[in-house]
C-alpha cells in the first residue's frame, strides 16, 4: 500500500489540480504533495514497504533514487511557491500550468524508482518526459517551444529504443528457458545466465542508448542544454537533479541483468566509454559557455558521465558513483535554484551580462560560489570525496591511465566552469546599485541543499555509508 500511495498521491493531486485551478488548491496540492511524499519516503527508511508482487518493490537502489527525488522535489516545491508567486514575477494565475505537471512528473519519477518491472519502468520513464514537456514550455516563448520540441522528440526516440531493448531482453529470456518469461527484475536475473549473449548485448546497447539519451550521456545529450536553459529554474533543478538519475536507474536495471548473466564486462566497457565521452564532450562545451543555465546543463552531462564511469569501473568506484549521485543531485539542484535567483536579479541568462553576483545578491551569491566550488570537486564539499573515490579506484584498476584521464578531465572541466562563473560572481557592484533584498523562501531551499553537500564532504554517517555500500553491491560494485 505504501508504495502505491507513494505513486498515487502525487498522481492524484496532479489530476486534481488539472481540474481545480484555484490558487490555494494549487499551492496546497504542491506543498502538501511534496510533504506527504517526503513523509512517506522518510517512513520507507524506517519501515521498508513490502513489495507488491514482483513488479512494485523498493530495493536499496530504488530507495536511494527515491530519496533523492523526494528531497529535491520538496526543495523545488518550496522554491517554486516563492518563484511563481513573487509579485515581480509571474502571476499566480499561471500556477495551473505548472503545479499539475510537476506533481505528475513526481508521480512518474516515483514509479521509476519503485518498479521492478521493466515494461512498467519504460512506461514510467516515458511518462516523465510527457509530464515534464509542458513544464519546459511553461514560458510559452519560441525558444521554450523549441526546447520542448527537442526534448520531446529526442527523448521519445531514445525511449522507443529502450522499449526495443526491453523487448530484446524479453526475447532473450524466452530463449533462456521454458515457461513464460517474466519482465520483472527477479525473473530476468534468474533467466540471465542462460540468455543468448547476442540478445543480451543488443538489449543492453539499446537500453544504454535509449535511457542514456534521457540520462544525458554524450553524444545523445543534445536536448539537455536547450531544455535546461528554457525551463523555469525549479524545473531545471528537478530535471538535472532527479530525472537524470531516474534514467540512470533505467540503465542500472539493465546492468543488473547483465551482472546476473555473468557477462557484464561488455556492459562495463560500454558504460565507461560513454561516460568518458560524456565527460570529455561536456568539458569542451563548458569553456566559454555564454548561458549559465546551459553551463550547468553541460555540467550535468559531465556528472552523468562520472556516474557511468563509476559504475563501469566497478569495485569501490561504484560506491563512489552512488555517493556522487547524491552529491551531484543536491549540488546541481541547488545551483539551478540559485540560477533562478540570479536570473531574477539580472533578467538574463547571458553569463556575460552578469557581474558581481556576490555583491549584488548577498545570500545567493556566496551560496552560488560555495556550490560552484562543490560541483568543481573542491573540498570540503561532498563531490570532492566521491570523485576522489572513483578516481582512486580507477587508478588502482587495470588501466591506470583511465584514472589519470578521469582526474585530468574533471579538473579541466572545473576550470571551464570557473572561467564562466568567476566573472559572474566576482566584481564589485556598479556605482549606485543596492544589493538585492532576498526572500527567505528563495534562499532556504538551496541553502539546505548546500548544507547537505557540505556535510557529505566532511562526514558520511556510518548508516548512510553502509546503505550506499549495499546499493553499490547491488549494481556490481563493492563498498
Amino acid at each position: 500500500m505504501h508504495l502505491v500511495a507513494l505513486v498515487a498521491i502525487p498522481a492524484l493531486f496532479g489530476l486534481l489540480t488539472l481540474r481545480w485551478r484555484a490558487v490555494p488548491v494549487q499551492l496546497g496540492a504542491l506543498l502538501g504533495g511534496a510533504a506527504l511524499h517526503l513523509g512517506l519516503t522518510a517512513a520507507a527508511w524506517v519501515w521498508r514497504p513490502a513489495p507488491l508482487g514482483d513488479s512494485l518493490a523498493l530495493d536499496d537502489v530504488g530507495m536511494l533514487f527515491l530519496s533523492i527525488t523526494s528531497v529535491l522535489f520538496a526543495a523545488a516545491a518550496v522554491y517554486a511557491v516563492e518563484y511563481l508567486t513573487a509579485p515581480t514575477h509571474y502571476e499566480p494565475a499561471k500556477l495551473h500550468r505548472f503545479v499539475p505537471y510537476l506533481l505528475l512528473f513526481l508521480a512518474a519519477m516515483t514509479l521509476v524508482t519503485t518498479t521492478h518491472h521493466f515494461a512498467v519502468l519504460w512506461v514510467a520513464i516515458e511518462a516523465t518526459t510527457l509530464a515534464s514537456a509542458p513544464l519546459v514550455y511553461f514560458y510559452r516563448r519560441g525558444p521554450a517551444l523549441e526546447a520542448a520540441w527537442k526534448y520531446l522528440m529526442i527523448c521519445s526516440v531514445g525511449i522507443a529504443l529502450a522499449l526495443l531493448g526491453t523487448f530484446f531482453l524479453a526475447a532473450a529470456a524466452t530463449a533462456a528457458g521454458p515457461g513464460a518469461p517474466s519482465l520483472t527484475l527477479r525473473g530476468l536475473t534468474a533467466a540471465a545466465p542462460a540468455m543468448p549473449r547476442a540478445w543480451l548485448r543488443a538489449a543492453f546497447v539499446l537500453a544504454l542508448v535509449g535511457y542514456g539519451t534521457k540520462m544525458g550521456l554524450a553524444p545523445m545529450h543534445t536536448w539537455l542544454p536547450d531544455t535546461h536553459s528554457q525551463a523555469p529554474s525549479p524545473v531545471s533543478a528537478l530535471l538535472s537533479g532527479a530525472l537524470l538519475n531516474c534514467a540512470f536507474l533505467g540503465v542500472l536495471r539493465f546492468f543488473q541483468v547483465c551482472l546476473a548473466s555473468g557477462d557484464a564486462a561488455f556492459a562495463r566497457t560500454l558504460l565507461t566509454l560513454l561516460g568518458f565521452v560524456s565527460i570529455a564532450v561536456a568539458t569542451a562545451f563548458l569553456f566559454g559557455q555564454r548561458d549559465y543555465k546551459r553551463l550547468f546543463a553541460y555540467s550535468s552531462v559531465e556528472n552523468m558521465g562520472i556516474l557511468a564511469v563509476g559504475v563501469g569501473l566497478g569495485g569501490a568506484a561504484t560506491y563512489g558513483a552512488m555517493l556522487h549521485a547524491v552529491n551531484h543531485s543536491f549540488a546541481k539542484a541547488g545551483l539551478f535554484l540559485l540560477a533562478g535567483n540570479v536570473l531574477r536579479r539580472y533578467g538574463t541568462t547571458d553569463a556575460r551580462a552578469v557581474q558581481g553576483a556576490v555583491a549584488q545578491l548577498p545570500l545567493s551569491g556566496p551560496l552560488l560560489f560555495a556550490l560552484f566550488l562543490a560541483i568543481s570537486g573542491m573540498p570540503p564539499f561532498g563531490p570532492f570525496m566521491s570523485e576522489l573515490t572513483i578516481f582512486q579506484a580507477a587508478l588502482a584498476g587495470p588501466s591506470w591511465w583511465l584514472g589519470v584521464a578521469f582526474i585530468t578531465l574533471l579538473v579541466v572541466a572545473a576550470l571551464g566552469l570557473a572561467g564562466v562563473l568567476l566573472p559572474m560572481l566576482q566584481g564589485g557592484a556598479p556605482a549606485g546599485s543596492v544589493p538585492a533584498r532576498e526572500r527567505a523562501l528563495a534562499v532556504a531551499p538551496p541553502f539546505v541543499l548546500a548544507a547537505v553537500v557540505l556535510l557529505l564532504g566532511v562526514y558520511v554517517p556510518g548508516a548512510l555509508a553502509d546503505f550506499l555500500g549495499r546499493v553499490a553491491r547491488l549494481v556490481g560494485g563493492a563498498s
Binding site: P219, T222, A284, M378, G382, F384, V411, G419, Y459, V460
Partner: protein, 663 residues
C-alpha cells in the same frame, strides 16, 4: 601536548573565521575578531611547534571522525613542527599587519570574509602539515587553495585581480592533478592512504618511486613556484592585499616544499638523478627568478619574482641534500636539507617583511611603480629601516639570516663537490657558481629597489606626501626585522630548530659530527661586524665634532638645474645587469627616439613578459581552448543532427557488440 595545542590552534582559527563572518556588516569588529583569532591560533601553533621540536620525536593521534574516504589522523614530527613554526611566526605577524592594512578598506570592501579566509588559510596550512592521511592532506591542501584564491581576489572589482585569481586557480588545479595521481599511486602501492601505511609499505619499486618523484615535483612544484610552473605566482602575489602576499609568499608556497619533503620520506633512498634534477630546477628558478625580478617595475611583482628565486635556492639546498643522501654522505645531506629548511623559515621572515614594507608604501602612496617613488626613507623611517633589513637579508648578506641558510647550502655544496664524486659531485659543484650568481644579482636588485624607492628624492607627488604606516603595521615589520637579525647573529640556536627536521628528511639518526661547529663563529663574525661599524660611527662622530658639517645640494657634476626626474631610474639601473641576459628575457620595447632639431617627445619603455608563460603555457592553453571551441559546431541547434548522433551511436555500438558475439 603539542598536538593538542596545534589542533586547538586550528579550532581557534576556524571559530574566529566563523565569528568574523557571523558579525556581518560590523566590519571593524569582524576584523578585530579575525585578527585576534589569527594571533591566538598562531601563538598556539607556534607553541606546539617549539614544544615538539624541543622535545623531539613524533606524536600521532587519530580523531574519532571518519572522512568519507579516509581517517582524520594527525601528527607532529620534526618536519611538520618546523613548517608549523614558519606558519605560526609569519602568519601571526602578517595577521597583525593585516589588521592595520585592511582598516583602510573599511566601507569599501567586506572585511569579515577577508579576515575569515585569512584564518582559514592559516588553519588549512596547519592542517596540511598536521595531516597524516592522504585524503586529509589533499583536503587541507585544496582548502588552502580555495582560501588563498579568495584572498587573492579580495579586490575583485579590478580586472587584473580577477585575471590573476583565475590564473592562480588554473595553475593550482592543474598542479593538483599530479598530487591526486601521486597519492592514488602511493595508495595502490601501500593499500592505504595513511602515512603510516605508506611508510610501513617501504619504498615502492619498479619505477614507481621515480614516477612518484616526478609527480611530486610537478604537483608540489606548482604550489612552490618552480620554473616553469611558477607562472601564477607573479600575477597572484601582487594582486593580493599585502599581508596576504606576505603570507602566501612567506609560507604558503613553502607548503609545496613541505609536500615534496614529505613525499620523499615515502620513497626510500633517492637515486642520483633526483638530486641532480632539483639542482637543475634550483639553478633555473633562481637565476630566471632574480633576472625577471630585476626587470620588473612593479614593486610587488618584483618581490613575487624574488620568491621564485628563493624557491630556487631552497631547491638547490634540497638538491644538495638529495645528492648527499643518494651517495650516503650524511654530512652533505644534512647540510643541504638544513640549509633548505632554514631558508624556508628565513624567506618566510624576510619576504613577509618585504611584502609588508611594500604594502606600507602602497598604503602611503597608492603607488606600486618603483619609478614613481623615491625619498620615502625620510617620511617612512621605520618602514625604510625594516625594509633595508629585509633587503640585506634576502641578498644573503651577513649579519642577517639569509646569509646563514645560504652559507649552509654553500658549505654543503663544497663538501659535496669534494666528497660525492662522479655525477653527484658535478651536480653539487654546479650549485656553487649558480648560488653565487643568484646572490650577486639579488644584491643588484635590492640595491635598486631600496635605492629607488626609499632613497634619493620623491619622483611623484604621491611619494612626496607619503606618511609612515600605523602602529599595527609597523610593529610586525620591526619584529620581522628583529627576527631576521636574531637568526643572523645567533644561527646556532635556530639551526638547532631546523636540525631535527633536516635529520628526518635525510633519514639520519643523529647529527653528523662537527657540521655545525662553525655556527658560533658566524655569531662572532656578526658581532665583530656590528662592533666595527659602531666603532667607526663613534670615530666619525668624534672627528666631526671638531670640524664643520655642512648640508649642500648634491654635486651635479657641474649641472645646476637637476630635477627629481633626472635621478637614475630602476629601469636604467637594471639595464647593464640585464643586458648580457637579454636572450633569456621576453622583452617588448617601445622606442620613440628624438627626431629633428627640436625634438618634443622621446620615449623608451621596456616590458619584460614571462617567457615561460607567454611562450610556453599561454599558447598551449589557447590551443586546447581552440580545439574545444571547434567542437561547438556539434551543437548546431538542428534536431535532425542530434537524432543522427543517436542513430550513429546506436548503430556503431550495436554492430560492434553484436558482431563481437556473432557465431
Amino acid at each position: 601536548m603539542s598536538l593538542v595545542l596545534a589542533t586547538l590552534g586550528i579550532g581557534v582559527l576556524l571559530a574566529s573565521a566563523l565569528a568574523a563572518v557571523a558579525v556581518g556588516r560590523r566590519e571593524i569588529l569582524a576584523l578585530r575578531l579575525g585578527t585576534a583569532g589569527a594571533v591566538a591560533g598562531s601563538v598556539l601553533g607556534g607553541a606546539a611547534a617549539v614544544e615538539q621540536l624541543l622535545r623531539g620525536g613524533a606524536t600521532l593521534a587519530r580523531a574519532p571522525w571518519r572522512l568519507p574516504l579516509g581517517t582524520v589522523t594527525v601528527g607532529l614530527d620534526p618536519l611538520s613542527a618546523f613548517f608549523l613554526l614558519c606558519i605560526a611566526v609569519v602568519g601571526g605577524l602578517a595577521a597583525v599587519y593585516g589588521a592595520g592594512y585592511l582598516r583602510g578598506y573599511a566601507g569599501q570592501r567586506r572585511l569579515g570574509p577577508a579576515a575569515a579566509f585569512y584564518n582559514l588559510l592559516v588553519a588549512a596550512m596547519i592542517g596540511v602539515v598536521l595531516a597524516r592521511d592522504g585524503v586529509l592532506f589533499l583536503l587541507a591542501w585544496e582548502v588552502m587553495t580555495v582560501a588563498s584564491f579568495f584572498l587573492v581576489t579580495f579586490e575583485d572589482d579590478r580586472e587584473s585581480v580577477r585575471r590573476a585569481g583565475l590564473t592562480y586557480l588554473i595553475a593550482s588545479q592543474l598542479g593538483v592533478i599530479a598530487l591526486f595521481v601521486l597519492f592514488a599511486l602511493l595508495r595502490a602501492h601501500a593499500g592505504s592512504f595513511a602515512f603510516a601505511g605508506l611508510l610501513a609499505a617501504g619504498a615502492p619499486g619498479g619505477g614507481l618511486a621515480d614516477v612518484a618523484f616526478l609527480l611530486a615535483l610537478v604537483g608540489f612544484g606548482t604550489k612552490a613556484g618552480f620554473w616553469p610552473v611558477h607562472v601564477w605566482l607573479p600575477d597572484a602575489h601582487p594582486a593580493a592585499p599585502s599581508h596576504v602576499s606576505a603570507l602566501m609568499s612567506g609560507v604558503m608556497i613553502k607548503m609545496g616544499i613541505y609536500g615534496l619533503l614529505r613525499t620523499l620520506t615515502f620513497l626510500g633512498a633517492p637515486p642520483l638523478w633526483w638530486g641532480a634534477t632539483l639542482v637543475g630546477i634550483g639553478i633555473v628558478s633562481g637565476v630566471i627568478g632574480v633576472l625577471y625580478a630585476l626587470a620588473q617595475h612593479d614593486l610587488k611583482r618584483l618581490l613575487a619574482y624574488h620568491s621564485v628565486e628563493n624557491i630556487g635556492i631552497i631547491a638547490l639546498g634540497l638538491g644538495v641534500g638529495l645528492l648527499g643522501q643518494s651517495r650516503g654522505e650524511a654530512t652533505v645531506a644534512f647540510l643541504g636539507y638544513a640549509g633548505a629548511l632554514l631558508h624556508v623559515l628565513n624567506h618566510g621572515l624576510f619576504k613577509g617583511l618585504l611584502f609588508e614594507g611594500a604594502g606600507s608604501v602602497l598604503h602611503a602612496t597608492g603607488e606600486r611603480a618603483i619609478d614613481r617613488l623615491g625619498g620615502l626613507g625620510r617620511s617612512m623611517p621605520v618602514t625604510a629601516l625594516t625594509f633595508l633589513a629585509g633587503a640585506v637579508a634576502i641578498s644573503g648578506l651577513p649579519p642577517f639570516n639569509g646569509f646563514v641558510s645560504e652559507w649552509l647550502i654553500f658549505v654543503g655544496a663544497f663538501r659535496g663537490g669534494a666528497f660525492l664524486g662522479g655525477g653527484a659531485g658535478v651536480a653539487a659543484l654546479a650549485v656553487i657558481p649558480a648560488l653565487a650568481l643568484i646572490g650577486g644579482l639579488a644584491v643588484a636588485c635590492f640595491v635598486k629597489v631600496y635605492g629607488v624607492v626609499f632613497l634619493g628624492v620623491a619622483r611623484s607627488d604621491a611619494a612626496a606626501s607619503a606618511h609612515e604606516a600605523g602602529a599595527a603595521m609597523r610593529w610586525p615589520m620591526v619584529a620581522g626585522a628583529a627576527l631576521c637579525l636574531a637568526i643572523g647573529v645567533l644561527p646556532a640556536t635556530f639551526v638547532g630548530l631546523a636540525a631535527p627536521a633536516a635529520l628526518q628528511a635525510a633519514a639520519l639518526a643523529a647529527e653528523p659530527l662537527g657540521v655545525l661547529g662553525a655556527l658560533p663563529a658566524i655569531t662572532r663574525v656578526a658581532l665583530i661586524l656590528l662592533a666595527a661599524a659602531a666603532a667607526l660611527a663613534l670615530l666619525r662622530a668624534a672627528l666631526l665634532r671638531r670640524a664643520a658639517v655642512r648640508v649642500a645640494p648634491t654635486w651635479g657634476c657641474g649641472y645646476p638645474a637637476a630635477t627629481p626626474r633626472m635621478q637614475y631610474t630602476a629601469a636604467s639601473f637594471a639595464e647593464p645587469v640585464l643586458a648580457p641576459f637579454a636572450s633569456l628575457l621576453h622583452t617588448t620595447v617601445v622606442d620613440e627616439r628624438p627626431a629633428g632639431y627640436f625634438p618634443r617627445t622621446a620615449r623608451h619603455e621596456e616590458h619584460v613578459g614571462d617567457m615561460a608563460g607567454e611562450r610556453l603555457l599561454v599558447p598551449a592553453v589557447r590551443r586546447v581552448l581552440d580545439a574545444a571551441g571547434r567542437l561547438r559546431v556539434l551543437q548546431a541547434g538542428r534536431i535532425q543532427l542530434y537524432l543522427a548522433y543517436v542513430l550513429a551511436t546506436l548503430l556503431v555500438l550495436l554492430v560492434w557488440q553484436v558482431a563481437a558475439v556473432a557465431p
